[in-house]
């Protein structure tokens, strides 16, 4: 694999490209978008889209009937259970593994080490991304060179989980221990212990410098930032921000079940967001043709990016080959914290040049990202620290972003909801608030002068290339988000507590995200008509609890003019559904949903063709509605059921009505959010109470408003956690100090303030029926808005997450 930074293979086009001497060629992004007439139905004309249709799997979920991966256990009487031996040293080389005692235990079927035949020795990345992954191939399934406390180095399969655990305990490992480093600033030093030799990584990423533990360096600029910073009439402001190592904490642990089926094919039933990427990566690792692997996703108990990775799947597959029986691996909750994935902790420096009249001439962000022991999603997440929040201020003429992504001997990081935008949004929105205060400007009016609006050509998004490439803004509800948010939180009529030492303040922050990865996504769907007028919708898109399958049903029903109940959805099974990149980058409704729309339109065309013959009317005069095809000319109708029977059993010419759709696009329209946080702070103790969260989101058209609100509230809860919880802290050997939920501090129902979600609907012409994304943008905004609220309430600034009473008290004492 080339490590030439100009080789597009090295970044897969997913996030950031280095700045090049050559002028960049961008797609032309005209303001006028050639939107099909049927995409822009008025709300009153939509029968399924925009309705709060029941989430199609809810009845199964509330009755306990839905099947998650672990629930397949009962279908495999000879199922073995896996357990994994993980490194106890932060850095070193495994010199010997004594498995003799484990192998002799009754009920142990297989014990694997890095040197076993059934264990692939190929390099790979766990990141579930496009191909070749814009992440370095720096891992092995079982590692001889271990780089954090938790690195997998051996695995067992046994008749039950207890025996598997006993076998793991019986395995003795000898190490040659190396020096280690856990602090990212220390790691980024030529004298620091080096995690990777140059020959230990394939698919290296732009800007890598393994002598300094740097996995990647990225940079992008528009205009001339240095010149703006040096202007005589410019005030230069600089602030620094720090974010936590946040756990996905999805309640269903990483779980994966592997077996060989009756047709000799390797099958994974697995809790994943990326079935197709997982299939490809397993084929690469195990040297099996892609066609001989089947990845099937059942109900998933939460993902949030933690399952946008092939985290555990190779282990049960290797064990099932060695033990010649089905094997299930379910990570423990302890493993979830120390050996799965987390959000990249970062330090971000923000600088602006602002002229006397309050005009921002330049924004300059720099991020130091701690990618942990391996580089999965390291470069692309860091890219989004700049390329998601900075375009919000598209009217600023000069902008620059740079990031260094460094390795430490700490747990692995990965994709997580927001994907870098939370870190960048904290820095930018906290910084701008502080600048507004310095200049005695209203923080909202200061932002409003610079933020994007419909018609803007957003060049800042283009400065990093790849994802979020230069784009035209065709929908923007920022003004309305702010106005409705202000009203809901009571911005203009805040009552102070009666006690003089307690102070109340409201802080706000804005955010933008993308919708899918511009130029690097694919969704596909097909739909087949049954003779009773119902449809089977097969879609590669992945529902991980978001309600995506229901949104697909609504989109198809809207096109086909039938009831939602007449559409049976089958999703995310690589044997039975078309290709899809997976559930990430806020792409599902936009990309996969558009594929569904196209498939339904394709089927509808055939339906109208048949109805035209049956009614002896031109297809142009026909439309579908309420399960019928009707003629606008004559009022004659024929039911979809009649068409279904006629098409397959008719006597003239027979046809199984099938529709197909596939969608990929250069567009990635931003959704927007305005966050408001109401806080009361006790200036004597620093203790604070968040009274309410209000977040207004412009998501385009909400396909299902009830589900969309749920996504907004859940995202905002995750954002709240990032602001107030410690996350996963690590000790001096890089071992996660958190082993269960009590220690992690996921905010409970009483610890979570009421969340008011407001959907500000606009119409995004490039999305299915006007939709853009909804579920990531509210993940970005609570940390800055809370920091800003505390600044408003008691005049101190907390730059380092989490916000704690101790930090506030210390800052007040120093004031």
């Amino acid at each position: 694999m080339s490590d030439d930074p100009n080789d597009p293979q090295t970044d897969g086009g997913t996030a950031s490209k280095p700045t090049s001497e050559e002028p960049q060629e961008y797609e032309d992004h005209p303001l006028e978008w050639d939107e099909p007439a049927n995409n822009n139905k008025a709300p009153g004309e939509r029968k399924s889209v925009s309705q709060t249709a029941e989430k199609f799997d809810d009845r199964k979920l509330v009755t306990g009937q839905a099947k998650y991966t672990a629930d397949y256990e009962e279908r495999f009487p000879d199922l073995a259970h896996a357990a994994v031996v993980r490194s106890e040293v932060p850095h070193g080389r495994v010199t010997a593994i004594d498995t003799a005692e484990a192998e002799e235990l009754d009920g142990v079927y297989a014990v694997l080490t890095p040197w076993s035949d059934d264990v692939p020795d190929a390099k790979y990345t766990s990141a579930g991304q496009s191909y070749p992954e814009p992440s370095p191939w720096d891992m092995n399934v079982l590692n001889e060179h271990v780089r954090y406390v938790g690195d997998p180095l051996a695995a067992v399969a046994a008749e039950d989980a207890t025996t598997a655990a006993a076998a793991v305990d019986a395995i003795e490992v000898e190490y040659e221990e190396y020096d280690h480093v856990v602090d990212p600033e220390e790691a980024f030093d030529e004298d620091a212990p080096q995690l990777f030799g140059d020959d230990e990584v394939e698919n290296k990423i732009v800007g890598h410098d393994y002598d300094r533990n740097r996995m990647s360096n990225i940079e992008g600029e528009i205009g001339d930032v240095d010149a703006a910073l040096e202007r005589e009439d410019a005030h230069v402001h600089e602030t620094e921000w720090e974010t936590i190592r946040q756990s996905h904490a999805q309640i269903e642990k990483h779980t994966s079940l592997a077996y060989t089926d009756e047709d000799d094919r390797k099958v994974l039933i697995t809790s994943t967001q990326v079935p197709n990427h997982t299939r490809r990566q397993l084929a690469h690792l195990f040297d099996i043709p892609i066609r001989d692997i089947r990845v099937k996703k059942p109900r998933v108990g939460g993902g949030f990016g933690g399952k946008q990775a092939m985290v555990v799947e190779p282990i049960p597959l290797a064990l099932s080959l060695a033990a010649d029986r089905p094997v299930m691996y379910e990570a423990s909750r302890d493993e979830e914290f120390y050996a799965m994935r987390s959000r990249h902790p970062m330090k971000v420096r923000a600088r602006t040049a602002v002229t006397d009249d309050g005009t921002i001439e330049a924004i300059d962000l720099y991020a130091l990202s701690n990618t942990g022991a391996y580089g999965s999603h390291g470069m692309t997440v860091a890219g989004n620290v700049g390329s998601k929040p900075m375009p919000l201020y598209s009217k600023v003429p000069n902008a620059r972003f740079e990031a260094d992504i460094v390795h430490t001997n700490t747990p692995q990081t990965g994709a997580m909801r927001g994907y870098g935008a939370p870190q960048g949004t904290l820095a930018l929105e906290g910084h701008l608030d502080e600048v507004a205060r310095d200049l005695d400007l209203d923080p909202i009016e200061f932002r409003r002068r610079h933020y994007m609006e419909v018609g803007d050509l957003d060049e800042i998004a283009g400065m990093m290339g790849g994802e979020g490439a230069e784009r035209r803004i065709r929908s923007c509800g920022l003004d309305e988000c702010i106005e409705r948010g202000k009203e809901a939180i009571g911005w203009d009529d805040l009552e102070q507590p009666s006690e003089p030492h307690r102070h109340r303040g409201i802080g706000m922050a804005l955010s933008a995200q993308g919708t899918g990865v511009a130029g690097d996504e694919l969704g596909a769907a097909q739909i087949m008509m049954n003779e009773d007028g119902s449809f089977h919708l097969q879609v590669g898109g992945v529902d991980i609890g978001t309600g995506a399958d229901t949104a697909f049903i609504q989109i198809a029903a809207e096109v086909l003019g039938c009831d939602e109940d007449d559409i049976i959805v089958k999703s995310s099974d690589t044997d039975n559904t078309p290709f899809d990149y997976g559930a990430y980058a806020s792409s599902t409704t936009y990309i996969s949903g558009m594929a569904v729309k196209k498939a339904a339109e394709d089927a509808k065309e055939r339906i109208l063709e048949w109805a035209s013959r049956m009614l002896d009317e031109s297809a142009e005069n026909l439309e579908t509605r309420d399960g019928e095809v009707y003629s606008e000319e004559t009022g004659e109708t024929v039911t979809l059921e009649d068409v279904g029977y006629e098409s397959v059993y008719g006597h003239d010419d027979r046809e199984h009505i099938l529709g197909k759709g596939t969608h990929s696009t250069e567009e990635s329209p931003p959704p927007f959010a305005a966050q408001f946080v109401d806080v009361t702070v006790d200036e004597q103790t620093g203790e604070f109470e968040v009274n309410q969260l209000v977040v207004a989101v412009d998501c385009g058209v909400a396909i299902n408003p009830g589900m969309a609100e749920g996504q907004v509230e859940g995202a905002n809860h995750m954002s709240f956690e990032m602001a107030v919880s410690e996350g996963i802290t690590v000790d001096e050997r890089g071992r996660a100090e958190v082993s269960d939920f009590d220690e992690y501090g996921l905010p409970s129902a009483t610890e979570t303030p009421p969340i008011e979600s407001i959907l500000v609907e606009t119409h995004e012409p490039t999305g299915p029926f006007g939709a853009k994304s909804v579920a990531e943008v509210p993940t970005n905004t609570v940390p800055p808005a809370l920091s800003n609220a505390i600044r408003e309430a008691v005049g101190v600034r907390i730059n380092e997450m989490p916000v704690t009473a101790e930090k506030i008290k210390t800052a007040l004492d120093e004031k």
Binding site: A53, E54, T63, G301, H717
Partner: protein
């Protein structure tokens, strides 16, 4: 060894290993609505009734409940005939991934049995150890408050077989008081 259990009103004899917890035993016998999210008895996903009290089944030593009466989520409504709490969760979009929801519904049932008209604060307190990563608790809390209304007979919008329901603006259809209680 074997123990006798009455699970959802059916008496049965189940095999139990020495270190089995009740969640493992129930799941092994097909009651997979009991979920395990944490290994340490704190997340609430495995909640069931044991002799009328809510317990996290993963924290109950199976050998210690010989002779107990156990009620799991499977004893509440069916998909065609949901319990009012289940109806409210569906109508309010209180379910995303759904993994924690059976445990939360069990806890809600326990709450409403003793406190049929709870405040929002009381609802939040009741589900304080039912960890949820998807919802931010907002819609589950709203659903439980609405379920209380429905069960008291104040009003109802029963989930009705998959047709569209606007959960945000429930209409005033009278609730007939029938439930699976």
């Amino acid at each position: 060894m074997e123990i006798e259990l009455t699970i959802n009103d059916e008496s049965t004899t189940v095999a139990v290993e020495s270190d089995d917890d009740l969640a493992t035993v129930l799941r092994r016998n097909g009651y997979t609505g009991v979920k395990c999210g944490c290994d340490s008895g704190v997340c609430g996903a495995s909640k069931v009734f044991v002799d009328g009290d809510v317990k996290m089944a993963c924290g109950v030593d199976a050998q210690n409940v010989d002779g107990a009466e156990v009620e799991t989520i499977e004893a509440l409504g069916t998909q065609d005939d949901l319990h009012p709490i289940q109806e409210a969760f569906v109508d309010h979009f209180a379910v995303q991934c759904g993994f924690c929801i059976p445990g939360m519904i069990i806890e809600a049932k326990s709450l409403l049995a003793t406190n049929p008209d709870p405040t929002e604060a009381e609802v939040r307190q009741a589900i304080d150890d039912n960890l949820c990563r998807c919802t931010g608790y907002q819609k589950p809390v709203e659903a439980i408050l609405d379920a209380a209304d429905r069960m008291r007979g104040d009003r109802s919008v029963a989930a009705d077989g998959g047709s569209r329901i606007d959960s945000h603006r429930p209409d005033d259809t009278a609730y007939d008081g029938d439930s699976n209680e």
